[in-house]
């Protein structure tokens, strides 16, 4: 116990204490008040931003899932040495600051960015797509950021599968397609669900990506907090929104813990 004391002291000083302060600010202006929460739960702006946040998070998580599953599946079929190498490539976006990546995306996805240049070169001058300062930009940016967080939980659940199950299915006459949909995929669902929840949770708190790649309609809750702190100087409102965001994430974190504990699927052999 004594050896973990420094950790608790540190966390208490830099996390719990500020958190308590934020909570305090959210309910005390001149005197105790719930006005800010009432506003956060009823105000049109707040509801819209909450919905946007939810929508962007879910869409990004699902896009990430669709892109990541084949990657994880491919990795799981590799011999261990090559798998480590490929996994390093998956981790590459991980090693780059999200700020740098977001700026890089403005160059790549912009009106005169490389993607639009190629599109116009191939399909004529009208073929350019607006991918910056709108929802598409945010989802692209987030997806790029989230892929490693999706690949690894899925990879873990694929690698945990007993290869004998696939052999058994094969001997019983099942073709690869059926083996995938009836055995491999269902058995990887805990990884899929864990990865998706994790990505939703991570997206909830996103700040830089929507700020740099999104338009005015793509404001997320973290941007709203920023807005109140820097523009309106309403720290009480900022605190209330931050606490609501924390609660929303907590719900998903609890769900995630359920999946991790294997409670969604019953015990595995």
């Amino acid at each position: 116990m004594i050896f973990v004391a420094p950790f608790f002291l540190f966390m208490g000083a830099v996390f719990l204490l500020p958190l308590a302060f934020i909570f305090y600010t959210s309910v005390v202006a001149d005197a105790f008040t719930l006005d800010y929460y009432i506003k956060a739960f009823t105000g049109a702006l707040y509801l819209r931003v909450a919905w946007t946040t939810f929508e962007i998070s879910v869409v990004s998580a699902l896009t990430t899932l669709v892109l990541s599953y084949p990657v994880a599946y491919h990795l799981s079929r590799q011999p261990p040495k090559r798998r480590v190498l490929w996994a390093l490539f998956v981790l590459l976006p991980f090693y780059t600051s999200i700020l740098v990546k977001s700026f890089a995306f403005t160059v790549i996805l912009g009106h005169n960015g490389i993607v639009n240049d190629i599109l116009r070169f191939m399909f004529g001058p009208e073929a350019g797509i607006k991918m910056l300062f709108n929802r598409t930009g945010v989802v692209i940016g987030l997806t790029h950021y989230l892929i490693p967080f999706m690949v690894f939980p899925i990879l873990a659940s694929l690698l945990a599968q007993d290869p004998v199950l696939h052999r058994a299915a094969e001997v019983m006459g099942a073709k690869p397609w059926r083996i995938f949909w009836r055995v491999t995929f269902p058995l990887s669902l805990p990884g899929v669900i864990a990865g998706t929840l994790l990505c939703v949770i991570l997206s909830f708190g996103m700040f830089i990506t929507p700020a740099l790649l999104g338009g005015r309609k793509d404001m997320m809750m973290a941007n709203l907090v920023d807005f109140h702190i820097k523009e309106t100087l309403n720290w009480n409102m900022a605190s209330a929104v931050a606490i609501v965001l924390l609660l929303l994430s907590s719900v998903f974190i609890l769900l995630l813990a359920q999946v991790r504990g294997g409670q969604l699927f019953g015990e595995r052999h």
């Binding site: 007993d162 004998v164 199950l165 052999r167 058994a168 299915a169 094969e170 001997v171 019983m172 006459g173 099942a174 073709k175 059926r178 009836r182 055995v183 269902p186 058995l187 669902l189 699927f265 019953g266 015990e267 595995r268 052999h269």
Partner: protein, 385 residues
């Protein structure tokens, strides 16, 4: 699904259930299976027996289609299936760790091979019910495999196998993960199932008792070669090699030199005695041989007791262990070799105390001559390098 029978070659084996035509499997320079010739009869319970690394699992995987032979061909029901993928071979397989799908109910597990075969739902329900009755677990359809005991899970795995009438069932140490009592119970059940359904079973085990109990025929493998094959009693009573003798059952083995031929072969042996043994084709005068006698064929004699048995050696009592119905006595011969005698336990005939002078005796009929070098034998079909 159409398996075109090839016409060329091996017509005498075409009516066999399975025929391995000079199959070999190499992994680089490692020989997992040397050239093997093996025919499995329809309805037979054939056991592949051998220590780990002897090639028995490789042989099974060749038939299942999990590995490709380096050379040779595999025939099932008269069709060359060497290049046919596992899913189209129409065989069944039971694995050591059951290989039940953890996310499916017992019903869905057993229904799986039927769904693959696009059977109607009503038919599936009827068949699954039928096999659940056969394995005597009629009420577990709705449960998950993890809710069943190991023995029950293996019964379900067997049910999942017999439900689609595969032409042959391969079993890879199916009882290896179960405790002794349950294993013996399931051995009997499997044997009954085999007789009742008339299925062809190819069974892999390293447990010699299991092989002796269940098999119609045993194929004993060693270092990727077939050491000997035949019915259990033949392997037990007429082992052709030292390896076969030592792998199946307990044995006492003496070094010796053939001294005379006749109705019985006389062998001069190290402990300073002449022994009479059953005639054998390998016996030539002056040839170094091994002499085998099973512990249960030995009789322990008090010093002056007479027995009328052909072979007799004097010895000193070392120790004795009662194993319930039988008693094992360890005696030391004059040249310090230890011999095991196994007798039935009798209350009135307690073993002599350690250190006392005794004799061991046995008949010439129970004495076998084996080649002095393991794995080399005439007519064994697997001449060693």
């Amino acid at each position: 699904m159409v398996l075109e029978p090839r016409t060329e070659g091996g017509s005498e084996h075409r009516d066999r259930k399975v025929w391995l035509e000079s199959c070999a499997k190499h992994y680089g320079s490692v020989v997992a299976l040397a050239e093997v010739e093996l025919a499995v009869e329809d309805g037979e319970f054939l056991t592949l027996l051998g220590p780990s690394g002897s090639g028995k699992t490789t042989l099974l995987n060749l038939i299942a289609g999990m590995v490709q032979p380096t050379s040779g061909r595999i025939w099932i029901d008269g069709a060359d299936i060497t290049r046919v993928p596992p899913s189209k071979r129409g065989i069944g397989m039971v694995f050591q760790n059951y290989a039940l799908m953890p996310h499916m109910t017992v019903f869905e597990n057993i229904a799986f091979p039927l769904r693959v075969r696009k059977m109607a739902e009503a038919e599936i329900r009827r068949k699954v019910g039928e096999v659940l009755d056969i394995v005597r677990l009629p009420d577990v359809g709705k449960r998950k495999p993890s809710e069943l005991s190991g023995g029950q899970q293996q019964r379900i795995a067997i049910a999942r196998c017999i439900v689609y009438n595969p032409s042959i069932i391969l079993m890879d140490e199916p009882l290896g993960a179960l405790d002794k009592k349950l294993r013996e119970e399931l051995q009997l059940e499997l044997k009954q199932l085999h007789t009742q359904l008339g299925i062809t079973v190819l069974y892999v085990t390293h447990d010699q008792e299991e092989a002796l109990t269940m098999s119609d025929r045993i194929v004993l493998l060693n270092h990727g070669k077939i050491e000997q094959m035949g019915p259990p009693d033949e392997l037990y009573f007429q082992p052709r090699t030292l390896f076969a003798a030592e792998f199946l059952g307990d044995s006492n083995i003496f070094d010796g030199t053939v001294a005379g031929l006749g109705e019985f072969v006389s062998v001069y042996s190290e402990p300073g005695a002449s022994m009479m043994a059953r005639p054998a084709p390998i016996a030539e005068i002056g040839k170094a041989v091994k002499v085998l006698v099973r512990p249960e064929n030995l009789t322990l004699l008090r010093q002056c007791e007479e027995s009328g048995l052909a072979n007799r050696l004097s010895a000193e009592m070392v120790d004795s262990i009662i194993l319930g119905g039988v008693i094992k006595c360890y005696v030391r011969l004059s040249d310090d070799t230890t011999v095991v005698v196994q007798e039935l336990t009798k209350a009135e005939r307690a073993p002599p105390p350690p250190g006392s002078k005794v004799s061991v005796a046995w008949s010439a009929e129970d004495t076998l001559i084996l080649p002095a070098v393991g794995g080399m034998t005439e007519g064994g079909g697997t001449a060693a390098a």
